[in-house]
């Protein structure tokens, strides 16, 4: 789950307008995420915590129900470049079990290797996405009906279909399915439940401290520690 999340980046064409205009603070979307054979979906909130001149702070809120319910927030400072994929500069994690937010070291920011990461295809430059375009479709999702562009990309046995809609800005992503015969964790789907606005970020980076052993338990082990 975590592997999937921190590689989720932007789809919009961001230059030509300032980042704060393209990514207004407090706006985002709620999603329902189904992982593999899990019956209970994970609730995911994805919203803009703030912007700087060349970077955007995106916060995730994840909530699982069941026997061991978890509420977790992660925030990432993402440097947005005019060309090429966006780059994660800093990451923070917080759960109610922690006294304060914790800083994710660089090796926790690199994401999962292998398969497809979202920043492989959600480029700032829309023309780079053209080769993956399937067509424009009207789709029905939990949030309503919307016209979205369907893209498909495959790599190493993983196929990702995703739909981007201008109506769902600033995130754009309205639906995604990932399938793989090789890696079980690459089987998941995501559907937008609603747009959200006026969200206050839970993590204030200036209050964050170093990652503790307790904090590590909530994060996927980076490749270097496996």
């Amino acid at each position: 789950m975590n592997k999937f999340l921190f590689s989720l980046l932007f789809s919009s064409t961001v230059f030509g307008a300032s980042l704060s205009e393209s990514f207004p603070a407090g706006k985002g979307a709620n999603y329902s995420v189904k992982m593999g054979k899990d019956v209970e979906p994970v609730h995911l909130g994805l919203y803009i915590a703030g912007t700087r001149v060349d970077s955007v702070h995106v916060e995730y809120f994840m909530e699982t129900k069941g026997l061991l319910p978890v509420q977790m927030w992660q925030q990432f400072e993402i440097v947005v470049k005019e060309k090429g994929p966006a780059e994660i500069k800093k990451g923070f994690v917080f759960t109610k079990e922690m006294k304060k937010p914790e800083i994710m070291p660089d090796n926790f920011l690199k994401g999962a290797s292998g398969g497809i990461q979202m920043n492989d295809f959600l480029f700032a430059d829309k023309s780079a996405l053209e080769k993956y375009k399937i067509g424009v479709e009207t789709i029905e999702i939990a949030a309503g009906t919307t016209k979205a562009t369907h893209y498909r990309t495959t790599n190493n046995g993983q196929t990702v279909d995703y739909w981007i809609s201008d109506e769902a800005k600033p995130m754009g992503l309205v639906m995604l399915t990932s399938k793989s015969d090789k890696v079980e964790s690459q089987n998941y789907s995501l559907e937008m439940k609603s747009l959200i606005q006026n969200v206050k970020p839970r993590i204030l980076p200036e209050n964050a401290g170093p990652l503790t052993e307790q904090g590590k338990k909530f994060l996927a082990k980076p490749e270097s520690m496996r």
Binding site: G45, F61, E63, E167, S194
Partner: protein, 75 residues
């Protein structure tokens, strides 16, 4: 005409794009969490009020602890 206006107001959850929109009104995500509301049986508004009361109690506890600490120092 009034009927249609009322309908439009009721459907106020829909955004300009037609997609459902939730306004968190400056709160963090947890206060609107469906799980928190479902677990307690409270509406999101009641949940928010309850959380505010909890925060107030915590603040008072912290204040009392500080006063006690100062009293102990004085002794």
């Amino acid at each position: 005409m009034k009927f249609f206006l009322a309908l439009a107001l009721i459907a106020g959850h829909a955004s300009a794009s037609g997609l459902k929109t939730v306004d968190l009104k400056g709160e963090t995500t947890e206060t609107q969490s469906p799980t928190a509301s479902e677990k307690s049986g409270l509406t999101p508004e009641q949940n928010k009020e309850l959380m505010k009361k909890v925060e107030d109690i915590k603040a008072k506890q912290a204040k009392s602890a500080k006063i006690l600490e100062e009293m102990e120092k004085d002794e």
